[in-house]
Amino acid sequence: MSIPIERMVSGDTPFCYMVIPMLIVPAALTRAVIFPGSILPTANNPHSIAVMIGIWLAMTLVVGKAWCSYICFFGGIEEGFAAIPKRAKIRRLDPRLRLIPWAILLFVVVLSGALFEPVYCMWLCPFKAVTEYPAVHSVETAIQMGIFISLFAGLVVALPFLTKKRTQCAYFCPFGAFQSLFNKINLFEIRFDREKCVDCTLCQTSCPTMALSAESIREGRTLMNCMKCGACVDSCKKDAVWHLKGTKVALQPERARLLFLYGAWAMATMFGGSILANSLATMLHWLPWK
């Protein structure tokens, strides 16, 4: 459903976390937030800008880029499509494609700062095809809708189905690239005990976002874009482990895993629960007999 201009003018537009990287330059220059909505929560808009940025800050401190695997419901859509086929039809993907999200991040941050509008939301977000799509009433909005549908069909439906990977997350999402930066300061990570590793590459095959390379496995690490979903740990027959930065590899990995998972699940249920509750309330509001 498209968001009518009335809702944008009145500040009732719910805030989307994907826009956060694009807010930085305009907010630094003028303190203006280039997204329709309200800074503080209102009766019509509990998901205000300050609330959503607050939630994002808290969750990013706790889980870092695990936001993408435990909290992002957009990623859940492509994970669903990736789970349908038994085997991947396309198995080899060029590792250089991992750089695309960084290029898109740079592009949308700079352009949003110059144009004072959330460029990604207006022109590139694949999920606009199934969420707040624009009403087509001009050539411009028809082009926008065409881009949204093409990106959704290609990156969220077809490619995950063919590759069994989260291709939109791995090869397109600028917010995911932005979250990768927080992996540098987050305490939790996944490591491989090189003394036990047999280089079977099962971990590499299982990773949904191509966050492992032969070189990184040799070094016993994941790449910066690891979203800590734990698929590699589950697939490993030897000793891929949860790890805390600064400690010896494979020191109390089960304790590290539990500390991470309890935090991540607390965050996921809190965020997902509030969205589910709001969605149910909206649906109940529209019941015909109400």
């Binding site: 009518p4 201009i5 009335e6 944008m8 003018v9 009145s10 500040g11 305009p26 907010a27 003028t30 303190r31 203006a32 937030v33 280039i34 997204f35 329709p36 909505g37 309200s38 800074i39 503080l40 929560p41 800008i49 300050a50 609330v51 940025i53 607050g54 939630i55 800050l57 808290a58 969750m59 401190l61 706790v62 110059a114 144009l115 004072f116 509008e117 009433h137 001009s138 305490l187 939790f188 805390l244 930065k245 600064g246 400690t247 010896k248 020191l251 109390q252 304790r255 590290a256 500390l259 991470f260 309890y262 935090g263 991540a264 607390a266 965050m267 809190m270």
Partner: protein, 168 residues
């Protein structure tokens, strides 16, 4: 010894993240929200209409005139002035007003519209510019952030585009 101290510190910090996670819905979300709210951020005037210039009292309702919106260097929204008629419940069925937008004592535009009974419907009406600084338009017609006539919250919001020469 150093390895052991680092390990103890790391696991202590990890345990703290668990406490943080548990505290988010009860305490920390509010703290973070208030911190962001006190950072002095504001929603861009292209969406909000900007700051209020003056409020004109009418018979039971108010006409709120905003400061002209001027876009940032490459921003794609054209300059406009926002006017809000509120509360909707106090408006007559048909409103016709000549309004001084720039505060020089002379009326700049004549705004007229029907107030729809359905609070989600868009008002039909027109804006007639009384001088060359502003642009005329009628609704229903093409709406944009700089040219619109809508019901929003408890107001009828009208945005009058400034003519090209009035750009900063």
């Amino acid at each position: 010894m150093r390895v052991r101290i680092v390990a103890v510190l790391a696991y202590a910090c990890a345990a703290v993240t668990l406490v943080v996670a548990a505290c988010v819905p009860f305490v920390l979300m509010g703290v973070f929200t208030r911190t962001v709210a006190h950072a002095g951020l504001h929603v861009d005037a292209a969406y909000t209409g900007g700051t209020v210039a003056r409020t004109l009292a009418r018979n039971g309702y108010q006409v709120v005139v905003y400061q002209p919106f001027q876009p940032h260097a490459l921003q794609q929204v054209d300059p406009f002035v926002q006017i809000a008629f509120k509360p909707v419940a106090a408006l007559p069925d048909h409103v016709t007003e000549e309004i001084d937008l720039d505060g020089d004592g002379q009326a700049d535009v004549r705004v007229s519209f029907h107030v729809p009974a359905d609070r989600h419907a868009r008002p039909a009406g027109s804006v007639v510019a009384l001088n060359g600084k502003y642009a005329s338009f009628t609704m229903p017609g093409d709406s944009s952030f700089s040219r619109l006539m809508v019901q929003s919250d408890d107001a009828v919001v009208v945005r009058v585009p400034l003519n090209g020469a009035q750009r900063r």
